[in-house]
Symmetry: C2
Subunit: 412 residues, 2 copies
Amino acid sequence: MPVLVMKFGGTSVATLDRIRRAAKRVGVEVAKGYDVIVIVSAMSGETNKLVGYVGETSPLYDAREYDAVVSSGENVTAGLMALTLQEMDVPARSWQGWQVPVQTTSAHSAARIEDIPTDNINVKFAEGMRVAVVAGFQGVSPEGRITTLGRGGSDTTAVAFAAAFDAERCDIYTDVDGVYTTDPRIADKARKLDRIAFEEMLELASLGAKVLQTRSVELAMRYNVKLRVLSSFEEQSDAAGTLVCSEEEIMESNVVSGIAYSRDEAKMTLISVADRPGIAAAIFGPLSEAGVNVDMIVQNISEEGRTDMTFSCPTDQVLRAEKALAAAKERGDINYHDLVADTNVAKVSAVGIGMRSQSGVAAKMFKTLSDDGVNIKVIATSEIKISVLIDRKYMELAVQALHDAFELDKTA
Amino acid sequence: MPVLVMKFGGTSVATLDRIRRAAKRVGVEVAKGYDVIVIVSAMSGETNKLVGYVGETSPLYDAREYDAVVSSGENVTAGLMALTLQEMDVPARSWQGWQVPVQTTSAHSAARIEDIPTDNINVKFAEGMRVAVVAGFQGVSPEGRITTLGRGGSDTTAVAFAAAFDAERCDIYTDVDGVYTTDPRIADKARKLDRIAFEEMLELASLGAKVLQTRSVELAMRYNVKLRVLSSFEEQSDAAGTLVCSEEEIMESNVVSGIAYSRDEAKMTLISVADRPGIAAAIFGPLSEAGVNVDMIVQNISEEGRTDMTFSCPTDQVLRAEKALAAAKERGDINYHDLVADTNVAKVSAVGIGMRSQSGVAAKMFKTLSDDGVNIKVIATSEIKISVLIDRKYMELAVQALHDAFELDKTA
């Protein structure tokens, strides 16, 4: 029988009632003839409670014990979901990570899945089990210790199972009903997308659309797993939600698929840097070592051997960046006149795979912002994304104007 | 290094503060040179919460899923205890049942431990680990599913580990500071016993002194594990609490060690039963099948082929007993004139291994009760116990009078 993977996040299993509602959705798919693998998170709040216990017990905790403690919430939900399905006469059983086994690296609290042998679960499917309820977020290390995949890791568990079992689709049930062209709280014309390409989703996810864990999208892209995001709080048809899929499966699309934004970017400018070969490495090496996530980088035209270097990073890493650069200057590795931090900026991005074949997207974006009097401070582009740094006060205006300009309220 | 097993019950690990207090006790034993195996229960209230979830989800639940859910509380405590010990610079790690592995039968929710291989833990002891923190109450079935040992099962886990690792002693930390000659709430002269024999503890446990799970005492007796009951809420010396040990290790003891009682006994009398060979089986077979725990049985002298049969059972099983006997009468398996239930009784017992070699204990007990005007309704005796059923209103009086008569407030 074809296999379907269905993942339910913490809010979708927060109470026994919600577990029942989720189980009913599973029952619908079983009735259609699917063997279903259900991936569950902990009841919402549980993991935070356990993380709190660990932090209070041991500020510099042993990550192996952290994993042993915080993985327990998923075990509870998995058992309760299996019981709920059995009550509905659906043959189901729960699986903890080590029982499958979900084999991971030993990088506790941030482990990566290495392999998911399908034998144990397939034997049970062959015996008549229709639903395997698997505790998400967890696995087992080569040493036989429990590991976890990092927060949001159940998305990755779901995609990995879909890949291992060659599932027809991986449905991610969450508290939003799909991926939107932009944040509906900012632009009320925001429209839910029926389909979005993996590459676009990756750009949107890393830009702050926190619907899916970024790693799960990467994994889905690598193994070409059809990923669907949909709400567990609405009655669902087969075409509900947003399908995240490969480019080829999107027949016709807008040139731009979505407008993303981030409030938490700071603009840092190193003024009058002595320009020489290797200067970029001398600046960004120490920043990387200090754990500063540098996003956009712009180097101005060099004059008389000196240049200005501008980059952006999350606002809460500004202090860390300043320290790292001051230390590098102290050591004589770099030489600059001044370092100016502007935390009053925001990043706005247009994302779309259509950009690859369509020219003029950047020009249209710049003209739209200019027409509204928005000054662009930094520009960065990739194959499918154009990002600009602007004054934060113009952020909402810019998102709405770009959403209109690229006609994202209309389907292609 | 010699091995010590220390078990902490739910109230002893109810909060992070209490876990710290327990960990300090463990640290004291490590400092003495012991390798320690700590068995932990779930934080008090946790298991009840999980049992509640299961019952609400599925009244006739799959016991395998019940076990998967309710075992998770112990995993949390084990991890937190290991972290707390590490914070105190004591090398420790947590072990879940399947990691040891604690091999049990497949009788889910009432599994029995079959074997505890010591290799995995001993390898870690050899590598320098000083404390293995093991999640109590749980194990793994031959099918690789999680099992639990029944409520109070962590006591049994502790004794089984003490037997497997040939531990010097198994210390059970709980919320009372030992085993008393009788309930201090009833007799203020009640005295804590320094030592008590396994056989006596078994009689006291089954009579309602709920300090230790009965199975754990049976297991300790079979493998001659020295079992110590002591409070986790008091500073402890080496001689604290009560040592439950083999008879030979008790040099000198009172003839009677303790007076136990039970309020929840009912006296049932079948009046004018047709007496014939096999009649006892015909009566008690159906009661056993109906799940009635018959305790004392007395058959009166037979007259003209008919007799009265009296037995006791827990008061909440009276209805079940009446139904089972009525059904047997209906089927013609037994024939009786009437069934009279007296729920206004209590059982009082004197327990002591000294009775084996000392005569006159029963006589002294009967005279004491008689002197106080207490009428005895039923008598039952074993090698080390004499029990009487009396009117419930005399229960406290009887316990106090017997405690005085056998001079239990004085050490031997």
